[in-house]
């Protein structure tokens, strides 16, 4: 899995970032809530983003101030190539492992 260990929330946020060219924390939160049907706090996302940035998996730049942000500038994040490679590698390995799970499985009562 490369040089980095990465937590599951970090992986999720990274995937959300990779879905589009660029997004900021609130957009990440919106997508997250849409897919998981549960709320997430913005600071939690901030912490994750900073960690990812430190690991070099995302990069960021300051955007322009807009009125819906109370006149503050937004910080915009993008996935980096190494972020992309890491996530795809993780997905491939998962897929690989999942394929070895027998389906349907009688053990779990699923036919």
């Amino acid at each position: 899995m490369g040089d980095f260990s990465i937590g599951s929330l970090e992986e999720t946020v990274l995937i959300i970032l990779l879905m589009r060219e660029e997004s900021h924390a609130v957009e990440v939160a919106k997508v997250y809530e849409k897919h998981f049907a549960q709320t997430i706090s913005i600071p939690a996302i901030h912490v994750v983003l900073k960690r990812l940035e430190k690991k070099g998996l995302v990069k960021s730049f300051m955007g322009e101030p807009t009125p819906e942000r109370g006149g503050k500038r937004k910080k915009i994040y993008q996935g980096t190539p190494s972020g992309y490679r890491l996530v795809s590698e993780i997905q491939e390995r998962r897929q690989q492992m999942w394929s070895e799970v027998p389906k349907p499985s009688f053990n779990y009562g699923i036919v």
Binding site: T39, S41, H46, M62, P67, G70, K72, R73, K74
Partner: protein, 860 residues
């Protein structure tokens, strides 16, 4: 336009406090945006709750390690330090001069602090210091009141038993003996103490212990004495041999204790038990209430009141003895105050007290030097900063507020002060040996790095930074962008400040110089003062002899030495009082002499005659008196009259002559009424030898005679002139201190003047150039600048002299025999400073006087 809902403002403010500055923009914006979104989706309440909980969660950000970015205050500080150092480097010459001046001021102040705090630290280290007191007493009659510290044997006994609130008590007394070390004997002072002494004063034993300390022939000694005697282990067989009086006594050594620190008033070397002292004195001395000859220390119970104990002691005393008209009250003096209290005095085993005047002098010098040095720095700094107005303007354009500019310049001062502090440690190490000598202390380099080193350094760092740095920083931060960019300066305010600094500095310098000169003159006056007798080439020996045959033998043998011209023996001066007819009493000094006393010391006789050794009655019923006594008694012609003097065998003796007044003690006190007699009642104690040579071999011959007569007693001699001069040691120390202080103050003041003049000159080089082009001669340029500064300096002098006049007269009033503050001293002080300051001004103006106008005019 769409309207936005605002999240709760208190939560927003909380967020701004919690959130690190480099994240705030992003976080605040994100939370705001999320708030709008949640309001739209699920309503106000939900959104608000979320917002608040998210603000709280922002505390997590402190876990994210952030890098310092542009607007952190640390970054700014780094920038200040960087520009500060660059500027110091750029103006190397001025900066090093400035820092050197500051360092000198700091060094002087620091040393004074070390000295003064050392004086105040006496006896504070004792564990029970707060509870320890010694007995004092006050005796008051109608017209006078005397206070003294001291007590009698019985006081220690009775008070301890009967006064409530006393936890422990110990008497303390000095003794004297000859200690046998190897085969030789040395004069050695001893101390007597009671058994509880060791507990009260937390004496630490390295070997053995004081035990019960209640048998007569035991002792404990300190480590130094133990090392001298070669005693290392204590097993009960160690003994010391002391000759006390005429008897040789052996004492068993019970223990060795740690030497007491230097800043202790009590520094016993050999402690003997009071039980032993008791066996040595007549019964009378153990029961007389007012046989004051020792100290008694009490350790009071915690919470016991000093007044109550004093009161109860007084009651017991008054019940024990009737004092008639005299009002007597007992008192307690806290141990911690003994060193600084000069009124109650020391003695009887307690070491010398502080010299109050010296402490004051040193404090004044320290503070003045620090102030002068700080003012110098301010002055220099303002001038120097003016060349940086553009920098300030640019900073302000970029958004620096007044506050930041202020901080910047204060932190620059901080750098300079810090460097100066380091330099000052070097300076201190250099002047420490001289300082120790003047202050009568044994300071070593370690003293500087003593316990208070860090505190002192930190304190000075802050004080000097504030004193020196705040004003220039205020001035410079007040400039508006426009006025600083245009290079135009505000004139009025700053100049007045700089000028008043110069005036203040010179006032202080003149104060110190005049003070120094006055002390100098007073000292010389006292040293050259005609004491009324001849002390040249007179050797004094001190030893008590009682036996008339021994006296005669010793005298005859001394006179056989060819270089000894005359020998006279006397009792030294003692005091008593005379009861006059009108029921008043008069304190008089008296001295027993032999027939050669007056002739040898060349004391003139005004009326009557000298003693005649062939007249038997002169030895029993005749006295000489001095002029003061004659005047006190109101006798026009006392010769042939009897005076009411009663002492020993003498009663109503006949006055055979009047001697001219001469000083029996130092010039600090007035000449007392004096009676001179030849009665053999009193033992002789002082032996004066008149030599006709200053060849040191004579001393060896005298010593040989001494050895033959008084065996093991150590031979000590002094020259009477030295003894007399040593009485003014304090004045000599003050003189030395103030001399150095004044010198440093003048140098520092001139540094300041140099700074002010130099800056003025640099700023007006163009003007001078134009003047020169138009035809001004160097002399005119000199006059142009120097006149205004000379005016300032003279104003400084005037203020300084007035202040000095006031203080010096106060100081002189303490001397009975004193010089008057004369204007010639002031004149000399002014002349010295004027010359030095003129030289300083000219050194700075030299550049302006001989400049080539082209250099400074071609720029524009």
């Amino acid at each position: 336009m769409e309207s936005y809902k605002n999240p709760p403002s208190w939560a927003l403010r909380a967020l701004q406090r919690i959130c690190p500055s480099d994240l705030i923009e992003e976080v605040e914006g994100d939370l705001f945006e999320a708030y709008q979104w949640r309001v739209a989706e699920k309503g106000d309440f939900y959104a608000r709750r979320h917002y608040i909980s998210e603000v709280i969660r922002c505390l997590r950000y402190s876990k994210i390690k952030v890098q310092f970015t542009q607007n952190s205050s640390f970054m700014l500080l780094k920038n200040y330090l960087k520009t500060g150092f660059r500027f110091l480097w750029k103006t190397k010459g001025y900066s090093s001069l400035n820092i050197l001046g500051l360092a000198t001021g700091i060094a002087v102040c620091w040393l004074s602090y070390i000295f003064v705090s050392d004086e105040y630290s006496y006896d504070r280290f004792f564990e029970n210091a707060d509870q320890l007191y010694r007995i004092s007493a006050t005796m008051a009659s109608e017209d006078r009141e005397d206070s003294f510290a001291g007590s009698s044997y019985i006081m220690g006994e009775e008070f301890t038993d009967r006064v409530p609130g006393i936890k422990a008590s110990s008497r303390f007394k000095s003794g004297f003996g000859l200690l046998k070390v190897g085969q030789e004997t040395f004069a050695q002072s001893t101390r007597y103490a009671d058994p509880s002494f060791f507990e009260m004063f937390s004496i630490q034993f390295v070997q053995g212990n004081a035990g019960a300390f209640d048998s007569p022939n035991v002792t404990v000694i300190d480590e130094t004495t133990a090392a001298r005697l070669g005693i290392t282990d204590i097993d009960g067989s160690q003994e010391i041999e002391l000759t006390l009086g005429t008897e040789i006594t052996r004492f068993q050594v019970l223990g060795i204790f740690k030497d007491l620190p230097v800043n202790s008033s009590l520094r016993p070397r050999i402690i003997l038990p009071f039980v032993f002292w008791k066996t040595q004195v007549p019964e009378r001395r153990l029961t007389t209430w007012f046989d004051i000859n020792m100290n008694t220390f009490f350790q009071l119970e915690k919470g016991a009141s000093q007044e109550a104990v004093s009161k109860s002691m007084t009651d017991i005393l008054l019940a024990g003895q009737d004092f008639g008209e005299m009002k007597v009250a007992m008192g307690l003096q806290p141990l911690k105050e003994i060193h600084m209290d000069q009124e109650l005095g020391t003695g009887n085993g307690i070491g010398g007290s502080a010299d109050g005047q010296l402490v004051t002098t040193v404090t004044i010098i320290g503070i003045l030097c620090l102030i002068i040095a700080s003012l110098n720095y301010s002055n220099f700094a303002i001038g120097n900063y003016l060349t940086r107005l553009r920098e300030v303007a640019v900073r302000k354009v970029f958004g620096a507020q007044k506050k930041f500019v202020f901080q910047q310049f204060v932190s620059e001062t901080f750098i300079s002060v810090f460097i100066a502090l380091l330099v000052s440690i070097g300076i201190m190490a250099l002047i420490l040996p001289v300082f120790s000598e003047y202050a009568n202390k044994q300071y070593t380099v370690e003293t500087i790095f003593g316990s208070q080193f860090l505190m002192g350094g930190l304190g000075l760092l802050l004080v000097v930074t504030v004193l020196a740095g705040v004003y220039p920083a205020l001035v410079i931060s007040r400039y508006t962008i426009l006025s600083s960019l245009s290079g135009r300066e505000k004139k009025g305010g700053r100049n007045i400040f700089a000028k008043s600094l110069v005036v203040g500095q010179f006032a202080m310098a003149v104060f110190l110089i005049t003070g120094m000169l006055t002390i100098n003159k007073q000292l010389n006056y006292m040293l050259d003062f005609d004491l009324g007798y001849e002390d040249e080439n007179v050797v004094a020996l001190t030893f008590g002899i009682n036996d008339q045959n021994e006296i005669t033998k010793f005298k005859t043998e001394l006179l056989q030495i060819p270089a000894v011209e005359q020998v006279t023996m006397n009792s030294g001066y003692n005091g008593t009082n005379m009861n006059l007819d009108d029921n008043t009493s008069l304190d008089v000094d008296h001295i027993r002499v032999d027939p050669d006393f007056l002739s040898m010391l060349e004391i003139p006789i005004v009326k009557g005659r000298d003693f005649d050794k062939n007249l038997a009655s002169d030895f029993t019923q005749s006295v000489l008196i001095n002029e003061t006594l004659a005047k006190e008694l109101g006798m026009e012609d006392p010769v042939g009259q009897r005076i009411p003097f009663k002492y020993g065998d003498l009663d109503q003796p006949m006055v055979i002559g009047v001697v001219k007044d001469y000083h029996t003690a130092s010039l600090h006190s007035a000449i007392p009424p004096l009676v001179i007699y030849m009665s053999p009642e009193y033992l002789v104690y002082r032996h004066f030898l008149k030599l006709n040579t200053d060849n040191p071999e004579v001393i060896d011959q005298i010593e040989a005679v001494w050895k033959r007569n008084f065996g093991p007693n150590p031979f000590n001699f002094t020259f009477l002139k030295d003894v007399n001069e040593r009485q003014y040691e304090l004045e000599a120390n003050i003189k030395n201190m103030s001399q150095s202080g004044a010198l440093i103050a003048v140098v520092l003041s001139c540094l300041g003047l140099m700074g002010v003049v130099g800056i003025q000159v640099r700023r007006r080089l163009k003007e001078v150039s134009i003047r020169k082009v138009v035809g001004a001669a160097p002399g005119q340029i000199l006059a142009l600048f120097s006149l205004r500064f000379v005016g300032l300096v003279i104003l400084g002098f005037t203020i300084g002299i007035i202040v000095t006049f006031f203080f010096i007269n106060k100081w002189l009033e303490e001397y009975v025999n004193r010089i008057d503050f004369s204007w010639d001293i002031g004149g000399i002080a002014v002349l010295i400073t004027l010359l030095v300051s003129l030289a300083t001004i000219i050194s700075q103006l030299y550049k302006a006087m001989y400049l080539n106008p082209v250099t400074y005019l071609k720029e524009e």
